[in-house]
């Protein structure tokens, strides 16, 4: 997608050369149209491009709906009158399979019941969405904050500090992240809790977020470092320094505002990745523990029932798929909007 397909953008983005206007009458903009030329900040331009993108709109709507559903989980609980931990064992047959069609779908249980436990799938899903989104968002923000801080310092510092940080980034990138996360979480938990006292769910969640944040800041840090290195020699930084600005001002007020676009894109593309990884951890029982509902654990629990009740797999699986797809599409659209030159 190029700028030329957006005539209005060009008008706003690049004010025409006044000399060209005088010399070529064809290019002269009529007086009544010239008033429309208003300066627009890069942010406003990006916002305009984003608004015009239909994929972005569709994915944004999906995401807003998902977030609203997650936030409104207690309301849904109140509306249906079902608690996520309620077990409707009387509606299961002798083999623990839900009675009725399609995994026990009925007017009371819109998405049916979990085989075995007899919990309501809709409520599990809604509360699981909450867990997923919370962990993914907080981890993504944590990874970005750490990455930006490290990257900006490394890029600006030069010398040994830069070398050390770059080396740490390289080593962290060589860590087998998933396998390591898999190993770290139970071991750290064992450090603080004995086998007899089960750790509270909040501890596991904090541990997952910390692990994600600790191993995913590298990409942002690398990106920010590169950006800062290319920016730090520019005239505006020089000017600020000549005017007597301190390092803090240079980093936060001069450099950071110029690199927020790629940071935002990485942040928005990190979220779906964390949703997927969190579910993957839950899938091998290293994720969020019972009784906190979790999408990945639902899929894990459903493996044994794939043959007899595929709906149990379908609902959480579809939810994760749609969520990740929407986030990925939105992240791509955001990148296109913020940096129109980067054609996909």
């Amino acid at each position: 997608m190029s700028d030329t397909s957006h005539p209005t953008l060009n008008r706003a983005g690049e004010s025409p050369d006044p000399m060209a206007e005088v010399n070529s009458p064809v290019d002269v903009i009529p007086v009544h149209r010239r008033r429309e030329i208003v300066g627009r900040s890069p942010g406003q331009l990006a916002w305009l491009r984003l608004k015009r993108d239909r994929t972005a709109l569709a994915s944004a709507v999906t995401l807003v709906v998902a977030v609203c559903v997650a936030l409104a989980a207690p309301a849904i609980q109140w509306l249906t009158g079902i608690d996520p931990t309620d077990k409707f064992v009387d509606q299961l047959n002798d083999f623990g399979m839900p009675l009725g069609y399609a995994g026990g779908i009925s007017s009371d249980h819109l998405l049916g019941l979990e085989p075995g436990s007899g919990r309501d799938i809709l409520l599990q899903l809604v509360y699981g969405l909450r867990t997923s989104l919370f962990i993914a968002f907080v981890s993504a923000v944590l990874a970005s904050v750490v990455g930006v801080a490290v990257g900006i310092v490394a890029g600006y510092a030069r010398g040994w500090l830069d070398s050390v940080v770059s080396w740490v980034i390289d080593v962290t990138l060589a860590f087998p992240f998933l396998i390591f996360a898999l190993a770290v979480i139970p071991i750290v938990e064992d450090r603080f809790f004995t086998a007899r006292e089960a750790p509270p769910p909040s501890f596991r969640i904090a541990l997952i977020i910390a692990t994600f944040g600790l191993f995913s800041w590298t990409y942002t840090a690398r990106l920010v470092r590169g950006q800062v290195i290319s920016l730090r020699e520019r005239e505006f930084v020089e000017a600020a320094r000549a005017a007597g600005a301190g390092t803090g001002h240079l980093l936060l007020r001069q450099l950071l505002p110029n690199i927020w676009a790629p940071i935002l894109v990485t942040l928005s593309l990190n979220v779906p990745q964390f949703i997927a990884v969190e579910a993957a951890l839950a899938f091998v029982n290293i994720g969020v523990t019972e009784p906190t509902p979790d999408l990945g654990r639902m899929i894990y629990n459903s493996i044994g029932y794939v043959a007899s009740d595929p709906y149990y797999t379908l609902f959480p699986g579809l939810t994760i798929f749609v969520l990740v797809l929407a986030f990925n599409l939105f992240g791509d659209a955001l990148r296109d909007a913020l940096d129109p030159r980067s054609a996909r």
Partner: protein, 329 residues
């Protein structure tokens, strides 16, 4: 060239040392004594001491680490007297659970993971690159749009969901394929392939999405380059221009990503292995972690890191082979 390789190997060695140090330090901070667990209820302090001696976990941590590294390099001996046992290099210790040498466990599990990843990589690279190439050559057509759509969806699909769908459709519903199982390649190549077809399809289809996107973007860019136009102008047939000239230039970044992906996957495809009940390295890690079987965890994490580091070096070397414009220095 030689200097490049030597330098990369040195960096790799340092990286692996740091990773092993971090992993070791973390894992052996675990307070619960595996000796107590292994020994059972009616165990005297002397018994526990003996078990700890057998496992080599009596010394302070730094000494344990040195012994661990020495074990990998030249082998080591555990215990004394009747309990003395030789662990030849590369020694990774003994499983806390059943006293099996970890080297043996790895040797049993690695072929499964290598088979899964190898077959899947062939599927995903061939499928992805050809799909991306064809859509680049037919930009804007229905085929191109469909390919883009499928690859977008595929890139957001999860192995645990897609694998279970395939399992339901191909095994439980229609019975087209048997439930996945592992038969060594040397034993029966046909059964080996049939048993692993489902994991290959799962991993292959999903990963090919990313490759299709990448290959398409690369190909579109390469097709607009001067040398492609020149080759066409000289009168070379299309097939030769696209297949030889353009593909070779477009494939370099794909090789990078493919190399790193294969390296990462070799460390353990634990989700695929869990879904299909295959006893690979990933499954070994998952099991070991649940029982805090540290020597096994240590071995699998280290092995996964080695795969990643080696993949990095191989990719850099392949670069120079594939793309004549790249000079190693």
């Amino acid at each position: 060239m030689l200097r490049f390789i030597v330098r990369r190997l040195l960096v790799a060695a340092v990286t692996l040392a740091v990773i092993s140090l971090v992993t070791f330090g973390l894992f052996f901070a675990v307070p619960s004594s595996p000796a107590k667990v292994m020994c059972g209820k009616n165990c005297t302090a002397a018994d526990i001491a003996q078990v700890e001696e057998r496992l080599g976990i009596r010394d302070p941590l730094p000494e344990q680490y040195v012994a661990f590294v020495r074990g990998i390099a030249v082998g080591r001996t555990f215990g004394e007297g009747d309990f003395r046992r030789e662990c030849p290099a590369p020694c990774l210790g003994y499983s806390f659970r059943n006293d099996q040498p970890v080297t043996e466990i790895v040797a049993q599990r690695a072929p499964v993971t290598i088979s899964i990843v190898g077959g899947a990589a062939v599927v995903w690279i061939l499928l992805g690159v050809s799909l991306g190439m064809v859509s680049a050559l037919r930009q804007g057509t229905v085929f191109d749009r469909m390919a883009i759509g499928v690859s977008l969806a595929g890139a957001s699909m999860q192995v645990y969901f897609f694998g279970l769908i395939l399992l339901y459709v191909l095994v439980y519903s229609t019975g087209l394929l048997p439930f996945p199982s592992y038969t060594p390649l040397t034993e029966h190549p046909g059964r080996w392939a049939l048993g692993l077809l489902l994991p290959w399809m799962t991993l292959g289809f999903l990963n090919s999405a990313l490759y299709a996107r990448l290959a398409r973007a690369q190909m579109v860019e390469t097709l607009s380059e001067d040398f492609v136009r020149t080759a066409r102008a000289k009168g070379l047939p299309r097939r030769q221009v696209y297949g030889r000239h353009a593909l070779r230039a477009a494939i370099t970044p794909i090789v990078t990503i493919a190399g790193l992906d294969v390296g990462t996957a070799l460390g353990g495809t634990f989700i695929t292995e869990t879904i299909f009940g295959l006893q690979g390295l990933g499954k070994a890690t998952v099991e070991a972690v649940q029982f805090l079987n540290l020597p096994v965890v240590m071995a699998t994490v280290l092995l996964a890191a080695i795969f990643i580091v080696v993949a990095n070096i191989v990719v850099d070397l392949l670069y120079a082979v594939i793309d004549p414009r790249v000079r190693l220095s």
